[in-house]
Symmetry: C3
Subunit: 398 residues, 3 copies
Amino acid sequence: MKSLKALIDKQVPAHSLSQEFYLDEAVYRHDLDKIFMVEWLYVCHRSQVAEAGDCYAYDIADESVMVVRDEDLQLHAFANVCRHRGSRICTAGQSSHKRLVCPYHAWTYGLNGELLSARQMGDKFDKCKFGLKVLQLQEFCGFIFISFAANPSSFDLLKKGLHASLKVFDLANTKVACHEVHSTHANWKLVLENFNECYHCGPAHKEFSASHSLMLDKEKQRVFDELISKRAPAAGISAEPVGFSLVDERAQTHAPYYYDRYALFKGYQTGSEDGRPVAPLLGEVEAYDGGASNVALGNLTYLLIYADHVVLYRFTPRSVKLTDAELIWFVRSDADLDKDVDIERMTWLWNVTTIADKDIIERNQKGVQSRFYQPGPYSPMETYTVDFIKWYLHKLSK
Amino acid sequence: MKSLKALIDKQVPAHSLSQEFYLDEAVYRHDLDKIFMVEWLYVCHRSQVAEAGDCYAYDIADESVMVVRDEDLQLHAFANVCRHRGSRICTAGQSSHKRLVCPYHAWTYGLNGELLSARQMGDKFDKCKFGLKVLQLQEFCGFIFISFAANPSSFDLLKKGLHASLKVFDLANTKVACHEVHSTHANWKLVLENFNECYHCGPAHKEFSASHSLMLDKEKQRVFDELISKRAPAAGISAEPVGFSLVDERAQTHAPYYYDRYALFKGYQTGSEDGRPVAPLLGEVEAYDGGASNVALGNLTYLLIYADHVVLYRFTPRSVKLTDAELIWFVRSDADLDKDVDIERMTWLWNVTTIADKDIIERNQKGVQSRFYQPGPYSPMETYTVDFIKWYLHKLSK
Amino acid sequence: MKSLKALIDKQVPAHSLSQEFYLDEAVYRHDLDKIFMVEWLYVCHRSQVAEAGDCYAYDIADESVMVVRDEDLQLHAFANVCRHRGSRICTAGQSSHKRLVCPYHAWTYGLNGELLSARQMGDKFDKCKFGLKVLQLQEFCGFIFISFAANPSSFDLLKKGLHASLKVFDLANTKVACHEVHSTHANWKLVLENFNECYHCGPAHKEFSASHSLMLDKEKQRVFDELISKRAPAAGISAEPVGFSLVDERAQTHAPYYYDRYALFKGYQTGSEDGRPVAPLLGEVEAYDGGASNVALGNLTYLLIYADHVVLYRFTPRSVKLTDAELIWFVRSDADLDKDVDIERMTWLWNVTTIADKDIIERNQKGVQSRFYQPGPYSPMETYTVDFIKWYLHKLSK
């Protein structure tokens, strides 16, 4: 594809992308083909498909996937497309079934995806040829991922590399406490560029910046890094950064990951407005260390782990200029959501922050559409975004 | 057009269409050119344009047609486009006029389409050259059809073939009792595929299936066919199937048609929830025979005739992924809509059924957009849909 | 661009445009490139950017411009695009700033457009290279225009030519009394074609036609022209037509303009429903002359000046089939909007007229989309529209 190659070649390193990457339908289709149809995508948590017959359907762009637990409690991922005339079988979100029955003509699939019955199809019809299309699936710490690709990257390094850091939080035994979607009228890359840097936190997020040392530049962060390197282990939490970046050589064949803990400012035990707890301590965590862990699970899924709750961030393209930013809050599974968890206080910070981000990202989209837009240089505080862009261009050029 | 030909050639017989036919803008433009701009389209009933000066405008895709009755009570069909600067002259639906006056600059046309006056056009202006563009028109049993083509297929066989079957219902002397539009976010072909088969009736339409033997497979229907073959004639209604399919050789030059009567289940006199009448018997019908006639008037217009009312189905493409499904209910013209007709009970069945269809058709559209969609085999219960697809591909390949 | 040339060549003189000009995305992009990115565009009035730090941002298609007054009270026009990652800096409309601070990462520009500070950009970063992009700006009678082109046409002839006619109204010392936007689902050219002719006034605007002699044909207008040629000078107002058309040779290098005063019908002192005044007399105007002046300021901005208020018309394309028609009412700057101005009566006429225009223009758009649309001949009463089309085709063919 020559013109795409030309676009990639003219890109100045460590500068924002040229206009076409944010507007062009053809580029968007390449983004889907080379990124979203290849990478691991977070679908749901094991607590959402706990029982035999439980199903969780997740829609992305024009695709839809069903994650289903069968009678043997095995998980499967299927394309949510009936083999008869293509109807969606399940609606997005959670549902529960004895069989997967297409609502159109009642073709009936087993929980393992086999076509069990199709009424009135005549003698020559061979059911065996019409099972649901199977997709790749991985589970880690209760988080369930799928890939639309036949041979996605390996999850081995990620699983090994994050095991020790995440163990104390017992994430497999958490549950969803709340779920919000912020539809953002912008290309998905502007949303990810925004998510991957905290250069904008100071100007744009006074709520976040009041409590999270991440908003500081590297130099000023150092003193807080020293604080957390003591406080976290005292609470049983690792403060040791691990992982490799999406531009690391290993990321060519393995899903990248990272774990890093940073300090909240004085007086903040967790990510609430007043700093006070919002839920019971996670897993085996012994105390509020006043910290937060940034975690990447592959290229497109991120966690922020406080001592008492987790926020998962998922970014779902809907069209070239529309992206859903989703926030999913998890607490320990035995917490009573009515008595033990203050959902309003727990969700406050990331709702206000994401609403502010929606606004600045949409302004960014409008701006890059101008003929006066010229890709500008990223700041040293935007290195993750620089890596993201580098990775993106590399993926696209394949 | 090579790529369209390639698409058509790779189509597997008796399988649903490949994805492009449901999504592609270029295919949609061909659909308009080769189907909707050629076939006979139902516009309105004679009762809606009964008097001199009555006009009915019908919009489809980017086109609009006016059916107008002139002072000699002749009907005309005109393109609803002023010859000055192109403005629409009449708004969609019914209206009444002494002259057809464009609301923009008051160019004034006679009811026969001649330009009568155009203010201030100078001396050289020749009114005779600016009459409204005339379209082909046919009336049958009071139903008025137009074609945007200069030489549409002949209506002769249809008129002769259906005359005897429809006479008893005296459809020319009916009137509109109700009119509903269900905007469906799907390609028009998915809407027609749905309409043309009752394989989905069992799973998707419990209300319809409670009363209509059409939901049964051929074998189980046989006993009900025997019942109606006695009950219908006893009420003066034909139970004799007539007509030819849209894939019949005759359909190359003549508008196809069919008439067929089938039984309602025991206790149902008409298509109401409780089976009891909803309006006075149509025409010369002598009794409730507990039956319903499926009628096709050309390729795109369908009737369902109960003993006491008629439902007309019209499908109007609005864009590649948007189609209006319209339902129009008719009762005998001398019925008092307030006293003799129970509109709520009359419209109940086909409103619930069409709302359910909207949902499954929209799921179908979403599904066929997936890259995991693969055209699947139709059931023997979907033969009309198979014919529809065959006809469609034939038309498109011309 | 061959196919565009072919389209232009097949255009019949003094006939409406062929369909493609009103529908086609590629033509629309040419319209933006060759018209809106080149011509002078009205942004705001000096009263809206009176103080140092005042800013007015105007959005058009995918572009946005900021007009800013600096500490030395000089006006500047900048592309509203941050040089970092392209975010819009100011929101559309009026605002006030000490510095122009991008809300995303706080890059901070002086009121003269220089980049003053950009946090954390490293040592090699050269601020001087990242000033805001400067656009051309002109002010005339307090009306501020910008051009996105480097070398737009000259404003000299316009300034000289209109000075004497407009002086009495003291337009620089007016202020905005009201502002309405009528979003019209039609191509911008259909909106301008409508604005540029009064052939439709009789049929479509009974309110306007009750009071404005412009609705008459040339011959009938003559007697009213004689009336105003006496009444206007008696009130200190010029009734002398001046200017040159957009198809005049001079318009190749200079912004065209015109000024012409015409009579209101008997009993009308200004453009109100009952003809009575709605605001204090403008500038040095001595009496109600029962007249109105049509003024063109360049190719795309128009004024209608009554004795006591001014209406400015701006037309902003939003997409190929969507155009905003804006009305901005001005009164003398020392008028008390609560006591001296009757805003409801002042805005009545042009709101009802523009709402009616929206309807007929949208009907026009629907009509030209039909395959039965054929460009028709303009009337001698549509000469300004004929000129507009001629100018448009000339611009597009360059």
